[in-house]
C-alpha cells in the first residue's frame, strides 16, 4: 500500500465543502492561516472555494463561495508555493472567469460534470489554453449507471489533451467499496487520465472507500479538516494522514494538521453540524442528492424512517439536478 500511497496527492476541500456549513463565510484571516498551515503540513493542493457559487443560488454567499481575484491574491501571497484549486459549475462561469483564475495563480480548476459534459469540455479547453491543470469531477457518481459512465469516460478520453484528472465524487455519500471498485474499473479501463476520489461519509464508508479507490488506481484523494463538509461531511484529513503514516508513508505532518484542527475548532465560523444527522444518514443510504433533503426532512418529522425509505424509493433512479428547494441548511 505504501507504494500506492507514494503516488497519491491530497486535495484539502475544507474551505469549499466546509463552506456548506457556514454559508461559505470563512473570514480572510482564517483562510490565510488555513492555507499556510496546510502547506506546512505538506498537503499537496488546497481547494479554496467555488467560483461564482455552487450548483444552486445561495443568498448572501460568502467569500469561499465566490473566489474573487482579491481573495485568491490574498491566499497566493500567503502561501506562494501552495497549489491552489478552484471548483466551478460551468453554468456559473464564463471564459473570462477562467482566464482570471489563471492570472491569479490557480493551479488546478475542477469542473463539476454530470449530464453537461459537452459544455464542460468546452470550458476545460479554455482552462487548458490558460496553462491550468484541469479536472473533471463527475458528481453524484453513485447515481450514474455503468453504461452511462462508460459513455462519459469514452468522451472524456477522446478529449484527454484538455484534461489532467477525472474525479469520481460520491456527492450522495452512498457508495460502498464494492460499488466504488466497479466504477473505478469502468473509469480505469476507459481512460489513461489520472483518477481522483471525493468521499462523503454519510454511511461511514469514506475511509474504506478511499482506500479502495487507491487500490483501484486513484492517485488524488479529497479530504477536509474534521471532515467539515456538506452534510455529515467528507473523509477526515487528519485520519487520512494518520492512515498514511500507519502504512509507512510519512510525507505529511500529522502534528501540523492537528494544529490546524485546533485553529479551525476555535474559529467562529466552524460549524460542527450534526443536528440533521438522521437526514444525512438516510440520504446517503437511499442515494438521495441534497435536493431531496426537503422531502426527507418533512417525512422524518411525521413518519418513521421505514416509511421515508418506502416513500423515497423512486428517487433511487435520480439522475438530474431535481427541485432546487432547500430546507434547514445549504447543501450540494
Amino acid at each position: 500500500m505504501r507504494q500506492l500511497l507514494l503516488k497519491t496527492q491530497i486535495v484539502d476541500v475544507t474551505l469549499r465543502d466546509g463552506g456548506y456549513r457556514n454559508n461559505f463565510a470563512f473570514s480572510p484571516e482564517y483562510a490565510v492561516e488555513h492555507v499556510q498551515r496546510l502547506y506546512e503540513a505538506g498537503v499537496d493542493y488546497v481547494e479554496v472555494g467555488y467560483r461564482n457559487g455552487s450548483v444552486l443560488p445561495i443568498e448572501n454567499i460568502g467569500m469561499t463561495g465566490l473566489c474573487t481575484a482579491q481573495y485568491l491574491a490574498l491566499l497566493h501571497e500567503a502561501a506562494p508555493h501552495l497549489k491552489l484549486v478552484v471548483i466551478a459549475h460551468v453554468k456559473n462561469i464564463k471564459a473570462s472567469d477562467v482566464r482570471e483564475l489563471a492570472d491569479c495563480g490557480v493551479n488546478l480548476l475542477r469542473l463539476c460534470v454530470n449530464s453537461n459534459l459537452d459544455e464542460t469540455l468546452s470550458m476545460a479547453e479554455v482552462a487548458k489554453s490558460c496553462g491550468m491543470n484541469v479536472s473533471l469531477n463527475i458528481v453524484r457518481v453513485s447515481s450514474i449507471g455503468t453504461e452511462q459512465l462508460e459513455q462519459m469516460v469514452s468522451k472524456i478520453e477522446a478529449h484527454k489533451k484538455l484534461l489532467d484528472v477525472v474525479y469520481l465524487a460520491d456527492s450522495n455519500g452512498n457508495l460502498n467499496p464494492a460499488h466504488l471498485a466497479r466504477l473505478m474499473a469502468t473509469v480505469r479501463n476507459g481512460t489513461t487520465l489520472r483518477i481522483g476520489y471525493h468521499a462523503h461519509d454519510n454511511i461511514g464508508l469514506a475511509m474504506a472507500n478511499t482506500i479502495t479507490a487507491i487500490r483501484q488506481g486513484a492517485t488524488y484523494v479529497d479530504a477536509s479538516l474534521l471532515g467539515m463538509g456538506k452534510g455529515i461531511g467528507n473523509l477526515r484529513l487528519e485520519q487520512w494522514i494518520a492512515y498514511c503514516r500507519s502504512e509507512g508513508f510519512e510525507k505529511y505532518s500529522l502534528e501540523s494538521v492537528l494544529r490546524a484542527i485546533k485553529r479551525l475548532r476555535s474559529d467562529p465560523m466552524f460549524v460542527q453540524e450534526d443536528h440533521e444527522y438522521e437526514v444525512d444518514m438516510l440520504c446517503g443510504s437511499l442515494n438521495l442528492p441534497f435536493t431531496e433533503r426537503k422531502g426527507v426532512v418533512e417525512r422524518l418529522s411525521t413518519q418513521s424512517a421505514k416509511h421515508v425509505e418506502e416513500a423515497s424509493a423512486p428517487a433511487l433512479s435520480f439522475s438530474g439536478y431535481g427541485a432546487p428547494s432547500l430546507v434547514g441548511r445549504l447543501g450540494s
Binding site: Q36, Y39, E40, A78, H81, E250, K251
Partner: protein, 254 residues
Amino acid sequence: MSEPWLLLGDGEAARAVILGPVSPSFDDGAFCSVLSDALVGRGFGVLIVDTPAIVESLASARGLAHVVEGLAERLRGPASGASLLAGYALGGTLAVKLARYLPQVPRILSISGPGFVDAALRRGLAPLMSALEAGQLGHALRLLAESVAPLGQAPGAQHRDAFGSESGLGELAVRRMLAGFRLLFELDARAEAASYEGELLGLVGELSQLATAENQAFTPGPHRRLVSVPGAGMRVLRDDPEFAMRAIEAWLET
C-alpha cells in the same frame, strides 16, 4: 579550482559527499571541517561541494526548475558509490531532493536543511533577499549573520562569513547568494523524503531562526531521526560541535 568541489582523504572515489550552504564564496570546506575531519578519520574520501557555484551556473544556463536535475547529473560521477550524502542548510535540502536521483545512497544527512519554506522562513529571509536584490552585499552578510546566530544572541565570529573586497568578487558573491536563496524558495523535499528508502538524519539547532523542526522534510519515525542541538542556531557544527558530532557518529553506527 577547476571543479566546484574539493576531495579530501585517501582514495579516488568519495564515499561521502557534503553539499555546502549558500555563501558569498567557497571557504574550502571550513564550514564543515569538524564533520569532514571525522569522516576522513573513518577512512572516507570526502567530496565537499561548493553548492552555490553549481547552482548559479545551472540556474543561469537552464533555469531554476532544472537545477536539481542538473546537480544530480554533475554529481553522478564523483558521487557514484557514495555511502553518505550530506548537506548544510541549502545543501541539506538538496541532499534530500537528490534522493530521487541517487537512490542507491544508503544514508542522507541534512544539517540545518529546511525541507520546505514555511511562512516563518520566508519572513526570515525576506530582508536578506531584498538586500541582495539591491546589490547591498555588506548589509546582506550582516543580515545573514544575524539570521544564522541562535535566536536572541548577537552573531559571533562563527556566524559571519569572511569576505574580501577584491574587485569583481562582490558581484559574483551576490549572484551566488541570490541563486542559492531563490532556489531554496522553490524547493520542497517532502515527497523525496517520504519515498527515500534509506536512513535519514536531520540536525536542527534548538534556537535556529531559519531551519526549524517545523519546516523539516520529514517527521521522526523508523529510519528517520531528527535531532535538536541544544542552544544552537543554524550553524550547529560550530555552535556545539561536540553534541552535533556525537549525534552524527551515533547515527552512522546504526
